[in-house]
Symmetry: C2
Subunit: 315 residues, 2 copies
């Protein structure tokens, strides 16, 4: 059946497991629900974290995410978990993103409904963040995750979650469930093992400490690669583009004589990021999507099939 | 009707007119033939040249190209034509490119058949070039175009064309008709009006004078932009990529203290050029097409519509 008709949402759950393939398999299998497309599933052993990209209509998508969260709660013990990425729970961060024909309000509604179900049925304390936050202090995920799993009991003795039990789940911690716009999760590896360099670069680049407005950045000790990493979220990549973020990282790292080794995107990147790379680095301001041969061919096919929206009338 | 089924060819005719919009319109209208998609049509006033991109099955495509060539012969007088781009005729260069389900031999067959018709019906001398060349000396378009329109009568007094009259058409000159692989026509503007710099850069970059194997390059005096231009054909862009060509131009221009102002692609660029830009400049060796959100969504739609070839089995 086509997923092209109704309102669609993206959900990008982050689970605190990036090493045991059998758990990654189980998480993925759990999310196999009719009408939901699993667009990606990647585990990172250094972060010890997996990111799944799901797209679907509201109800089946929420069901898929819930099932995967249940597997995470059953199979991941945060008391044993070590990794470089900050986390508060087994099903750590669950963002809903409005997609085709969907609004942010609807995404917030999905986040709240899932939060209530997760609190009731999985016994997980839930913090709502981003557009789904119920208080200003919880808008920023960074604040919600402060102290991580290890500091959660102490923290929850002073402040209640938004839903669910008032103490952490003994093995699965808590979950941050939210709504946000599409972002690009962009990691830059620096050609050094010196984490201090990555920390300084991250501080210079991130908006909250004087860097680029649309950029969040953390330093990560990614030992398995032999390099350290600046892990970024580009939360407004149409304004602060991926090339701009990369070039600022490059310049700041060069202060310490360190070069960029390579980069990666976690999950998916929007097409506009490719366009930004072409316009910026190829210095090609006139680039347009229809100048790509395959795109022009696809438009021609569509047009000649009687669909609306072809850009060319000469067929 | 869909153009997705049968063998498809691309044809990228170059006409010696880039200034009079009514002629560009007439050329385009002439190419409006059922089953043929006009993917692009661009005139350049400095080059005084237009490039049309057509895709379709063999017969209708040849018909569309023939009709546009007839308009060019009727409406363009090379005796009056001034422009920076070398040319021998009104319908100057007509390359066929094998596309979906098509072979180079078939493209050569199309070139030869069109050449015969053009010679007979339009009275144009025809030189076959590229894979369609009948002698090694005419493989390279540069050789075919040597002396340009102004030197054509003298040249044809010594050597016969491959088909058609043995003297130039009085106003429309001759046509080079050929077959080739997909290429990228890539122009780099240098931030100077000094044509000598563009000539030196073009010489350093082009393969025939010691530069990059897969690159042809000419210097162009593109006055309307206030810059000079290095106009390149990347004839094997999978081996010698667009970023590599641009960076060599940049380095050679920097020898003279000149920077790259901007770039453009003439006609269409294959998707792989976008991937090359991402992998090269973003230093993202792991980039894959399915990591683009819209592509992944499209695949999911296809898959869920029951088409083969979706990469994800989790729907």
């Amino acid at each position: 059946m086509s997923i092209g008709g109704h309102s669609l949402f993206e959900c990008v759950p982050n689970f605190s497991e990036g090493r045991r393939p059998e758990i990654l398999d189980a998480l993925r299998k759990a999310a196999e629900v009719p009408e939901v497309a699993i667009l990606g599933m990647e585990g990172d052993p250094d972060h010890n974290r997996a990111v799944m990209t799901l797209v679907g209509p509201a109800e089946p998508l929420s069901e898929a995410v819930f099932r995967a969260m249940r597997i995470a709660v059953e199979s991941i013990d945060l008391n044993q978990h070590r990794g470089t990425h900050p986390r508060i729970g087994a099903a750590d961060v669950i963002p809903f993103v409005p997609w085709r024909n969907a609004t942010m309000d609807e995404a917030v509604g999905l986040a709240h409904a899932l939060g209530r179900r997760v609190g009731d049925e999985l016994g997980l304390p839930v913090f709502f963040y981003g557009y789904a936050a119920l208080s200003p202090a919880r808008i920023n995920l960074f604040e919600v995750r402060r102290g991580e799993f290890e500091g959660l009991a102490m923290r929850m003795s002073r402040e209640a979650p938004d839903f669910g039990p008032t103490a952490p789940h003994p093995t699965a911690g808590a979950a941050a469930i939210g709504a946000r716009n599409v972002l690009i999760a962009f990691n830059v590896y620096l050609h050094t093992q010196n984490l201090t360099v990555a920390r300084r670069v991250a501080r210079a680049v991130r908006g909250t400490s004087g860097g680029l407005v649309g950029v969040k950045a953390l330093a990560m000790d990614t030992k398995s690669r032999g390099w350290v990493q600046v892990s970024m979220n580009l939360i407004d990549y149409r304004t602060t583009s991926l090339p701009q973020a990369l070039e600022m990282v490059r310049r700041e790292a060069a202060r310490y004589g360190v070069a960029v080794a390579e980069t990666e995107v976690v999950g998916l990147m929007p097409y506009v990021a490719l366009e930004d790379a072409v316009r910026y680095y190829l210095q090609m301001p006139g680039f347009e999507r229809r100048r790509v041969l395959e795109t022009a061919m696809g438009d021609a096919d569509h047009h000649s099939n009687g669909h609306a929206g072809g850009w060319d009338d000469g067929i």
